[in-house]
Symmetry: C2
Subunit: 222 residues, 2 copies
């Protein structure tokens, strides 16, 4: 099933990572590609993101947003869930398996991502502070606790619970934020898990589409 | 509709807040009470939470968990969603309104809670560090940005999008973590919003049930 109206998402006009795929529109693009759903992209500048017109769509002045007819959504988790719920391939049909896949979405966003965001704040926003060097190992330690637990649970499996799901999509997207730090190298099964996500054709299409914003090719997914 | 089997959740044997209702089992209890769903509670000690038996239920060694027949869930967001999906009163019937309510659940957990968790880490885990006093205003500032934006969106409305939903339940539960800090006092509409949540009979029943763990009354919700 495809949506009756082609949805439009928003993305950074100039992503802080210059097309490395770490901005949150990537999660939504990836889900839409997995679902085979065409979409349009509207690019937003940093200043426009904080203006009333964009805040009407996204109260926190961020990207991505999602517009589909009368429906306006924000929060990458909510948008991925909305897409996953209405297309095959991202959530299992069995009710219990589906509830577990949704659990992994929430675990990615509310248990694994918060310490990663804290680390990112420490690195990007507090690098010039007098405490920066001394404090960093403490924050990294909080991330490592979560990585160790996730690594133990994943074990030798390909995905977190049976086949690939929106839970894996979200977890891989969150873990990707650590790639520049090299921290994933210490957890070979998580490293391979992330690589497995990145190797998916839908991921590749989404990655190319967001990267095209920087190379001048059209920013739509297909 | 009630579940064929009474679900069992886990909660702290000794909550760090001594029954103030800030632990994450409170969110689940509240949702179950809103849904009119009876539940059992199993109390878990801090040491037992990190043992393999509990980690089999919750890979990150935390509470709450949720067991219902063969189904095992963790993550308060996922459990609240599971409950909300299967009972009236927590998610609107209209598909678009429902997607928006779910958006607020994710916004509470992935946009509003992370800076609050960072503040909590700064206060509880780094209070003895040499940078503590100097750094705290910076972290509080990050929380204030989100509170300001949320306050602007809520405006004079009672709830975030139409009637009370699981999105409000989660947002109120997240904001409650700030109550001891007094920071909510600067945002009168958010303060009133949180008070409106706390005044709900279901919240009160859930609060009394978690508090009963400390006063010796039986820990089940009803």
């Amino acid at each position: 099933m495809t949506f009756p109206m082609t949805p439009t998402i928003t993305a950074f006009e100039r992503s802080p990572d210059r097309g490395k795929g770490l901005a949150r529109d990537m999660r939504v693009r990836w889900a839409l590609e997995e679902a085979g759903q065409a979409y349009e992209v509207r690019l937003v500048s940093f200043s426009a993101m904080k203006e009333p017109a964009h805040r009407a769509l996204h109260p926190f002045g961020q990207i991505p947003t999602y517009e589909e007819g009368d429906l306006v959504l924000f929060e990458s988790g909510a948008i991925v869930f909305h897409v996953a719920q209405r297309h095959a391939g991202l959530l299992p049909g069995d009710a219990n398996a589906r509830a577990r896949a949704i659990t992994w979405m929430f675990a990615a966003l509310n248990t694994v991502e918060p310490p990663i965001l804290e680390l990112q704040n420490a690195r990007l926003l507090e690098s010039d502070k007098p405490w920066s060097e001394q404090r960093l190992p403490l924050v990294e330690g909080r991330v490592r606790v979560r990585l160790g637990e996730l690594s133990a649970r994943l074990g030798r499996a390909d995905w977190l619970d049976g086949g690939f799901s929106a839970g894996d999509l979200m977890m891989v997207a969150v873990l990707l934020r650590l790639k520049p730090s090299g921290m994933l190298d210490d957890y070979p099964n998580l490293f391979a898990y992330v690589a497995r996500g990145e190797a998916r054709p839908a991921y590749q299409r989404a990655f190319d589409a967001q990267r095209a914003v920087f190379t001048g090719k059209p920013p739509t997914g297909r």
